[in-house]
Symmetry: C2
Amino acid sequence: MIDQEHIAALAGIVGDKAIVPGNSGMAAYQSGARYDEGRAALVIRPQTTEDVSAALGYCVRNGIAVIPQSGNTGLVSGSTPDASGGQVVLSLDRMTQRFDIDLDNRTLHAGAGFRLSDVNGKLEKHGLFFPIDLGADPRLGGMLATNTGGSRFLKYGDVRRNTLGIKVVLADEQGTILDLTSQLRKNNTGIDWKQAFIGTSGAFGVITECVLNLEYLPKQVATAYLVPSSGAHVMPLLRAMEDRLGAYLSAFEGISGNAIAATLDHVPSLRNPFQGGGVPDYVILAEISRTWEPRQGEQSLDSVLEAVLAEIWETDEAPLADAFVGPAHEMWALRHALSEGVKHAGKLIAFDLSFRRGDIMAFCDRMKSEMPKNFPEVTIRDFGHIGDGGVHFNLTVPKDSASATEPDFERRLRDWVFAVAVDDFDGSFSAEHAIGRKNQIYYDLYTHQKIKDMAQGLKAMTSPGDLGSVRFG
Amino acid sequence: MIDQEHIAALAGIVGDKAIVPGNSGMAAYQSGARYDEGRAALVIRPQTTEDVSAALGYCVRNGIAVIPQSGNTGLVSGSTPDASGGQVVLSLDRMTQRFDIDLDNRTLHAGAGFRLSDVNGKLEKHGLFFPIDLGADPRLGGMLATNTGGSRFLKYGDVRRNTLGIKVVLADEQGTILDLTSQLRKNNTGIDWKQAFIGTSGAFGVITECVLNLEYLPKQVATAYLVPSSGAHVMPLLRAMEDRLGAYLSAFEGISGNAIAATLDHVPSLRNPFQGGGVPDYVILAEISRTWEPRQGEQSLDSVLEAVLAEIWETDEAPLADAFVGPAHEMWALRHALSEGVKHAGKLIAFDLSFRRGDIMAFCDRMKSEMPKNFPEVTIRDFGHIGDGGVHFNLTVPKDSASATEPDFERRLRDWVFAVAVDDFDGSFSAEHAIGRKNQIYYDLYTHQKIKDMAQGLKAMTSPGDLGSVRFG
């Protein structure tokens, strides 16, 4: 809880309109979109960087903890207040005053409060988009704070790669504004400080504006479902596709049969694309795309993909057991339904792991072999971004099982999966969801002391105040 | 100068073989490849990260200044010793013990001592390359320390974008080794500390190993020289190319007629590609490429480029005055000869600027109009990477002119060009050459105090010792 005096002072700073009134108004800011709930002392919604600065400075001077909140679609309790009721939520949802497209520079300078769907909606008429493809619809500030990746990472990279500049407010007594809103693609005149604020969950400052790289929208897309001959054939298949298709290849997503089965069960409108009504053990959704319309005498992209798959089919390694090109919207509809689909197959315990690409299937094999004896009630329903090493390693247990109710179960399961992923495979315990309160114990466990010390040093010299959900250092 | 005792101690640490004997042996390490000369107290060439650590720790404990040196091809006095004779040069040229290609991951884990040409030579048989295209042939450590860009930035990005991990030795009393050699493409579990060492001239630590992203070699390339209807037509032309060609477009280089003329004069074996023996005011070298062989029924890439240029020719904006597709090796031979070519047209004063793309031609116009009255003896011979906003704004004065001998001339010229580029156009005074001793005064001039303070803080917590050529903070 914070004093009425502080609430009045903050209202004076950001204006009454920027104070969310009452508990019912605050409810939306206290719960994450999918998980997780806390209690806020106050929710403020400043409209300008200057107001963020004034409010943040005030909070630091008065020892008030602040949680920056953007779209609140994260999965690791990064943007919701904790249960204490003592944290002020600083929502970015009104930071939408600036939206400047520079067509020559192919960049967008925007407030951090825009949703991804809004951004791409406004860009469409220019034939451009911000090329981060996600199931969720976050706001830009949160995308930067978590460095989101998504399904087209393979072609376009993550948010870090597509960010030219940011404006950030530090949680120091002055609410210092760092204007790093460079419009330049190349600039090597010192430390690239924006990197310290990207993917670090808002602990070092609140991003209020950003300058983003834009890409031209694809004008042709072709998609196929590929069934690899075995798990060991997934990498040869990826390499054969990359070798032949290069920058055309815009997605190479792996999906376990268990994830597909759960999703088809849950969403009856989805058609089972596989012959005979069964579902293969493992499937790849591959997409190729290009930015032009087919010209006279040129093959359609479907034909290109079919020709490439026919070549790969004939190679000595014979990586394909089945493959068919089909309509993109239908193929992606199944892919995009997976997150919700697996949630309905039981109690979900979700992991967002990443590996060297060649280790993904080995890790999955290890899990398949050891899970039954360690956690017999668990079903593995993984899917993910094989092309960039990411795996949404999603597990379910029956909702009425002993595991679902055992208080310590999830912690034991997480400890074991992370131990195998991080210790044995040099993988990451958070590929694209960042840390948040949820992964704090694993940051503490897996981070070297020197790195923690450096993080603490960075914290002290940027935002010494109590900012964000993660304790670095 | 340093004591014989220290020399003996360092020889004991890195081994006699790693000590460069005598002044004649040291000469190669005291001069940059193109500019700049200093005097070293000692040159050491350790072979392992552990030896770098031991040597660096010793130097820090004994107050000895160290200059890390890689290929020494830089242009800003970043890797040569100063004139004092008191600095130890730490050459990375024997750091070539590790060269591990991971074909599945499409990455290379290599020692920092490999030259770019060696790296790409070894990768060729796998159909892969490290996609940074430069005129010079630096070693990897220096490429990381300066975050080099080059001619294919538009498609593949800079070194930063293509680096997954590094191993770095800090200049502290222990010579702390930070092992950040991640093989992961996605990992958001804390601060991405490697970013602090990329592009910062070795001031915060010595990079000894790196993990790099590789790309498949193009199997088809098509190039064209384009003559824009005017400077104002360059951006519409770029946008028309990007819109139609997307990720195919791998270079869009601008070249002034003055740079071409100087180069044709200097290299008689180069053919003048333009009709009638004249040279246009401004030319674009455009390249498109893809990673597959043409398949049956598919157009050659030359035909694709011709068709696209024909379309653009017909657009209402009429951005093209002339355009012709031609042999890649010949078109690039002229482009790659420019650096040397302009050097022979007089005394060269070279700038490595960058801008928002839409500002490049406006900046060049401003210079063309104001240069004659401010610096009448200067000829502008610019060329550069229009696609990413970079301009090698190279100027010459006749070798026997008053300007060439006036001691203060270069400083006055630099001050003015940078003032226009940075203050008036929000450009960068070093797009891809980094800071070095040469740009130190402009770092001091153009960097905000808070950023300097943060840099100093970072310096204190990473490498408090006297390391590198740049004073941050």
